[in-house]
Symmetry: C2
Subunit: 461 residues, 2 copies
């Protein structure tokens, strides 16, 4: 008789697990049912800002597979509009509410995949529940916001939060001719960057006419007739027609925690390298689980679609009887704002210090192509290495077209714990349309190595 797999959450991690499990086992050996409380399965959450910003015309472009496709091509019973309310590990069953019909029923499982995702932070500030204040996490949220932009044509918008989501949403709003203010607490946008690199982003945003208010804290919202009219901070009151919350997300762990599935040190669900939770036959992946950071050797909460897909695949192979591991993350991320591209991997200078390393750094300005080649753009590369050993700890890139994706070269170097002295000789490609003869990554490695050496000469007796 077929075993039964229940998947909670029909997006990246959940449906990747379902698909990978199906590749391992046919329908007569494994029945797969996935419950998704929203209206869509397997969509690109990272694409939502580009739908809001009109780069993507229609939400259907963001959807990798519909429930119908899962049923027809993969024999996976994906049910949208179904919310799991409770997990009973003793009975091996979940309580599911059909949100359309309003019915509840228990559904038994042999194996369970928990992929409950995350929810945007919504701090309990005065006025936060007013109309016109949007969090953007699901495709439904994105559709709601784009509808408001189309129908109401707001003249002013405030984005609260200057992280990746906040900045991507600010860029999206700029396509609507809205006056944009971005408010953030850290000294510079993108707290994933060191402030010296983040400052370049603020300058670029201001160059595009955005107001960037850093080191400022939102304390509440003014409203009129239930609708937001201003954002109140510790420094000013900023009138607005629309507020976007880009304050990061919190892992959805209540369902798992209530059932007794162990959480980790970060508060997200704890999993091992095979994506097993502490409960036999219960797997988890995506934004609701914590990840192992390979440089800091600590667990972190890092809600990124690329990890969710890899974790889902790994869990699916394992629960289908195969063997796969997910060996952890480097904190690699990339984004684009106001024609500025940003990439980072590993630890920043400040993060390295916080993780107990003693970092040496170097910053190099170069170009994306040979200086004489048409279309050469500026690229600034910062490397962070361990004092003494010169081992690469992290890297950050800020530049224009063709800059950011180069961070992957450093991600692979970091994955292998490459010393900068070794990195500076690695055989990277060169031709004038693609880089200067000394690739910016290699120049940065050389300069970092010099900093390590200079430091070593000074400190050795």
């Amino acid at each position: 008789m077929a075993q039964r797999l229940i998947v909670i959450g029909g997006d990246a991690a959940g449906m990747s697990a379902a698909s990978a499990a199906r590749r391992q086992l046919p329908q007569d050996q494994l029945e797969i049912v996935a419950f998704e409380r929203g209206h869509y399965t397997s969509y690109s959450a990272c694409g939502i800002p580009y739908f809001i910003g009109k780069d993507v015309a229609d939400t259907t472009e963001l959807i990798a597979r519909t429930p119908q496709q899962f049923r027809d091509h993969h024999a996976i019973d994906a049910r949208t509009g179904h919310e799991v309310l409770e997990i009973d590990l003793h009975r091996r069953a979940v309580l599911v509410r059909d949100l359309t019909a309003g019915r509840e029923a228990w559904e038994g499982f042999d194996q369970l995949m928990v992929a409950t995702g995350a929810t945007p932070a919504r701090p309990p500030l005065p006025g936060i529940d007013a109309a016109g204040i949007h969090g953007v996490q699901t495709l439904d949220d994105g559709i709601a916001l784009r509808t408001v932009l189309e129908r109401e044509r707001p003249g002013r918008a405030v984005v609260v939060g200057a992280g990746y989501i906040g900045l991507e949403l600010a860029e999206a709003l700029s396509a609507w001719g809205v006056d944009i203010t971005v408010i953030g607490r850290p000294p510079a946008p993108l707290p994933g960057l060191d402030p010296d690199m983040g400052a370049l982003i603020a300058t670029a945003m201001e160059g595009y006419g955005m107001e960037v208010r850093m080191e400022e804290t939102v304390t509440g919202f003014e409203t009129h007739a239930g609708k937001v009219t201003a954002v109140v901070t510790d420094q000013a009151t900023i009138p607005t027609d629309l507020v976007i919350l880009g304050l990061g997300v919190t892992p959805n762990t209540t369902l798992a925690a209530d059932a007794g599935i162990p959480l980790g040190e970060t508060g997200a669900i704890a999993v091992d390298r095979r994506l097993r939770t502490g409960i036999e036959g219960v797997w988890a992946g995506g934004d609701c689980v914590e990840k192992f950071h390979r440089v800091s050797r600590r667990h972190v909460s890092l809600p990124l679609g690329t990890h969710a897909n890899k974790e889902g695949r790994t869990a699916g192979i394992n629960l289908g009887g195969g063997y796969a591991t997910f060996p952890g993350v480097l904190g690699t991320a990339v984004t684009k704002i106001c024609d500025i591209e940003v990439g980072r991997t590993g630890l920043g200078e400040l993060e390295a210090q916080a993780a107990g390393f003693d970092p040496v750094t170097a910053v190099v300005d170069s170009t994306t192509r040979a200086g004489y080649y048409p279309g050469a753009k500026p690229i600034r590369t910062k490397l962070i290495a361990e004092r003494g050993t010169g081992r690469l700890l992290g890297a950050q890139i800020v530049g224009e077209e063709g800059a950011a994706k180069r961070i992957d070269v450093l991600s692979v170097a970091l994955w292998h714990e490459t010393p900068v002295e070794e990195l500076l000789n690695i055989d990277l490609s060169y031709a004038p349309p693609f880089s200067p003869v000394w690739d910016p990554v290699l120049i940065a490695a050389r300069k970092t190595w010099q900093a390590v050496e200079t430091d070593r000469a000074r400190t050795e007796p």
Copy 2:
């Protein structure tokens, strides 16, 4: 008293060595004299096709440092128009001819850096010395060819050779509205690629109106009044106004070999990881030396500016009393032809077989950005892995804008002998403007791993 370093060859390897030595030792400890027989020092030879193709307006843009700058800022006596005719290792002196004054003199050295470069192959075919047949190696050659294009406005041109140089020159000629024919002996352009990948290049070139004649051998040239009028092959006679030879280069080793400096198995000068030749105090680097290929574990002749710079720097640090090594090459290369970008690293499928490996391959078609994001372009990635172990042996990329430079991710993976099973989980960056959620590199790694696993399942008892 200061030691004296003589450098033979004033381009990438020679002047990098001179500069690195100068950073190690001041003028009162090391006198540096560099002899260059051409008119220029430290220019980008790789930039010459872009000068010919009018992407670069003036040759001054290609020159990193003039002899005057070397004298003024680095206390390096760089003498152009000076050809070294003989090396006397016993007397530790070189015989130098001042090409302008017509004088010869012996110049003594304590240390010698041989950076004599390479010369374009010019097979002894009937008519090869006719006017209108151009090899393009030096900046002087490039200026001569551009002058011909400007003054004579030829209507037809034939490029003999379909390697990197041949194709870059064909692209350059297309800026002049010339009817272009490219003739090559292998089955597809760019013999550095496997034929299945190279075939994409031929299609792109034909789409741009070029005639691509592969598996065809040039046997001679027809001439009239000392000027070329046609290229004769084993299959046809092709009338033309201009011929460009892009047949690769031969290391300039005669000077070294005549002096008794040992050559290696490839016929180029043999050096160790510190760029020492077999003779005490004699160093060499650049196109005249052979390189250690880290994947095939064999020595190869691979004339690329990026290696010449690294080797020069390494030699300069060492001869200045420091310690540095050049750990070998991967055969990484990148180019652009007719809006098609090409990257390769390591061994191709055929090269892997020739090197004694038993390769497994996978080819993946993907996009450079998320499929729904504007500007997503096609990218085809081929990975070559070792049967059984799944160790990465090489990679090839052919695609449109934003495709080729991704080869560096695979270069670093290859440098570290990464198995494809490990590669598929590496934390590469993702955002819709930069890649699909599964990066093309990771999809290719996954598919290669599947090929390795399928093969293993089939062959194990």
